[in-house]
Symmetry: C2
Subunit: 278 residues, 2 copies
């Protein structure tokens, strides 16, 4: 994270602060949502898409959406001091009395923070990454599916399954054994030139980069299927890549003992994304 | 909550405070556990059992357990000012850098707080409560099953399905349709004099009061089955009751259109609990 000027690294409801009340339902129950955005040249990437996902997430959880205007203003305030970094926006239901019942008139809490971009080796895009298949499964819950909510214990347990720095990601199945996503990324398969990505109507996080790739595929005339994906289909895919707002696109080179080529469809999409961002 | 002396209502890592860092993984990801205890005459009820569950939960999530000694000391400090109330203990993994990976050397955060006992009408134990069957399902995840962890969005969405003060609880099924528990309670059925409670090896919270009732049943020669329970079995039960550390035991009188008697087994267990607490 390269700084330009005085650092404001965190805003809680618009005030410089690094604390939240214990009574905040984000802390009590994980009752909230978040967004993680890449920041380049002081600008959060694909910001309007993140805001729109956050708005929809708030609507689904019946959390009052703080509004684009205030989030844009605070993001600008916090991003202007850095050239490159990660902007994280958390919106929770705010404070309330004890119990799961949604409090009437709860005022949402918004937290914006900026942190350094993770340092991944440069050759991961060129050479592809290594992943493992996690034993930890994702529970099925259509009420929460697609949301980037604050209940992330499944991902934490999944991520704890490997320690080797040679492994960049773990892929997770749902409790029925369908392939869903990585602990911090979405997943695409290429089969006979078609793009396939798991259906996220029962679990998983519908990532912004996933949405962009789907749009690109549609606009670019690539056949796309959003469907249930089995482990056998994953293993038999011609190409596999992962998407995430911070890393962009990572081709998958190895999944356990299985090796994949970085094929033409993955290259075309990486090329398109690189152009789109410049 | 009747007070005796100066009120210390919240301790964060032993200090009077009502705030936690934004970077706490409890806030970021719901990465922690909690316990809710009834306090009577300044004493938390069944404290050693709650501490033991918390210790086991920490072990399962690889969170460093703060230890009985410090939790007992802080609980005494916070409880001595009230006669009656609810003690809540939260333990999180503490602060860490961005990402799901468990930070090395993370220091757990402990938060103890006291709040008033909820006021339920006195006749709920005598007359039984009304419940609904929630549409929201519980995801299946053996890694988290049984734990009272901080990822509680499923319970919040379940609890949001009714507003009527005439309804005290909502019962939840897992994603396969098995009956599991209430949003804030465990569930027991009585059939032909036997006690039946749902198996919680795939989802649900293994409550302290549930454990006490199971022990009582075993000691008292009541036949007990811990097993998968279908909606039909729930509907056909002779008696049904709910358990929770704060409410104790609530007989179920109505589930939607189905009515239950408060039968001899429920009465025997309520009687036993009343004696045990005095």
């Amino acid at each position: 994270m390269r700084h330009r000027g005085a650092l404001v690294s965190m805003l809680v409801n618009g005030n410089q602060s690094d604390r939240v009340p214990v009574t905040d339902r984000g802390f009590q129950y994980g009752d909230g949502l978040f967004e993680t955005l890449a920041v380049e040249n002081g600008e959060p990437e694909f910001f309007s898409r993140h805001l729109e996902r956050l708005r929809i997430g708030c609507e689904r959880l019946a959390i009052e959406f703080p509004g684009n205007e205030i989030l844009e203003k605070e993001a600008a305030q916090i991003c202007k001091t850095v050239e490159s970094g990660i902007l994280k926006i958390i919106v929770t239901r705010g404070s309330g009395s004890r119990g799961y019942r949604i409090p009437e008139n709860a005022r949402p809490t918004r937290v914006l923070s900026i942190s350094p971009r993770p340092s991944f080796p440069d050759d991961l895009q060129a050479q592809g990454i290594r992943a493992v298949l996690c034993r930890t499964r994702l529970g099925i819950n259509p009420s929460l599916a697609g949301l980037k909510h604050l209940n992330r214990l499944e991902q934490i347990i999944g991520r704890s399954e490997w320690n080797s720095p040679e492994i960049q990601e773990g892929l997770m199945l749902d409790s029925d054994g369908n392939v869903i996503e990585g602990t911090m990324s979405n997943l695409f398969l290429v089969r006979n030139g078609s793009l396939i990505t798991p259906d996220l109507s029962r679990c998983g996080v519908a990532g912004i980069m996933r949405g962009l790739v789907l749009e690109f595929g549609r606009d670019g005339g690539i056949k796309i299927q959003v469907e249930r994906v089995s482990v056998a289909e994953l293993e038999d895919a011609d190409e596999v890549f992962l998407t995430n707002s911070v890393i962009g696109i990572w081709p998958l080179a190895e999944l356990g003992k299985i090796k994949y080529e970085i094929g033409p469809v993955s290259r075309r999409i990486m090329q398109w994304l690189a152009e789109r961002k410049h």
